[in-house]
Assembly symmetry: C2
Homo-oligomer: 191 residues x 2
DNA sequence: CCCATCATGTAAGGCGTTACATGATTAC
DNA sequence: GTAATCATGTAACGCCTTACATGATGGG
């Protein structure tokens, strides 16, 4: 559930600053938090207090000083513990389905318009996901920023496999949703 | 997004008390809020203040008095407006995928065990959903409590169709997730 | 000159959950 | 007598978001 473990996971690949982590959250659909400062910086302070991470301040010329966090041995243990803890079922919040439940008050044209807009939204999400996916497979690996995002940065063949399956899970979800709405649209014309 | 519109939708079918609404939230996966008192009673007060609903206190013998809310003309307008407003893409919060991203630290057996537990969770969700589905199609319609939940309470053929498509959306999601994890489990054994 | 990027943080507020509080009736 | 159901509400807290605040550098 918690953002702590997501951050510990990122830090298990390489040391990162709060700013780095923020960028990663923003760029990844799987890390579903919005990449807001408040939670990230507070969580880092909390993790540091619990000795799950270590902190080092790096002074740079020509850009502001940054605090670089690394995962500690204790942090790695906590991450391992969490990874094998009981999985939860996904929480899906699909407000569109609630909209649709009361959509019988719309005319045929209005309903089709609503379905079309949902279809377009889904297509946009899918193409964004494909774009991210390509970037990950092409871009030269290495920098801290790419850590989570780049499949080629995986440390073992099994990790590559797992990361690809995660990406597949996302795109197949959007694809299934798209198929569903297309079918719905086609059949709704009969009424 | 908001719980206000979900409640307005329920009230568009029939007048309901806060308690009725609470039960409906608890029994429905589509209404993804947890059916907690705090939000429901506060939202009803808010809706009443905005004249989107009317309130009537019914004194009953052999059970406590209840406040029955009905949707107003203004409420119906607001519901119609919201129903045709821009749809949002679903928000999926799948913490299991984040767990899996760092699961390469587990042994083959531990990983398989984790996947198995996720598979079992999904199977349980699916059978709960099927159970609800059967109840809806069999149970005699009519009472306020069944309003949202009972497909047979739909007012038009098109509404029946929409409600069935909503149910199909949910079960096909869990089914796809189950297929995915089975495939993952089979292929993970190669490592 | 203005805007984007790098970099860290705070403030305010809404959303959502669990737990608490009360009190009557009905079923086992 | 103990638990569940009906029925309404409050308190405390955590999660999460938007917006605000600061300040340097580099590009168009």
């Amino acid at each position: 559930m918690s953002i702590e473990h997501a951050i510990l996971g990122l830090l298990s690949l390489s040391p990162l600053s709060g700013y780095d982590i923020k960028k990663m959250f923003e760029g990844s659909a799987a890390l579903y938090w919005s990449g807001n400062n408040n939670q990230i910086y507070k969580t880092l302070v909390k993790l540091h207090e619990q000795d799950l991470v270590t902190r080092e301040t790096q002074i740079q010329d020509s850009s502001p000083a940054k605090k670089v966090y690394s995962i500690s041995e204790k942090g790695l243990e906590e991450l391992r513990r969490w990874v094998s803890s009981a999985p939860e079922v996904p929480q899906v919040r699909n407000s569109f389905l609630i909209q649709l439940a009361w959509a019988d008050s719309l005319s045929a044209d209005e309903l089709d318009n609503l379905l079309e807009r949902y279809e377009n939204e889904l297509r946009m999400q899918l193409s964004m996901l494909d774009f991210q996916r390509q970037q990950r497979n092409i871009s030269p690996s290495g920098t801290a920023r790419d850590a989570y995002i780049n499949v080629q940065a995986a440390r073992t063949p099994r990790e590559t496999f797992l990361w690809n399956m995660i990406l597949e899970n996302w795109s197949s979800y959007y694809q299934a949703e798209l198929d569903w709405v297309c079918k719905l649209r086609a059949e709704a014309r009969q009424f």
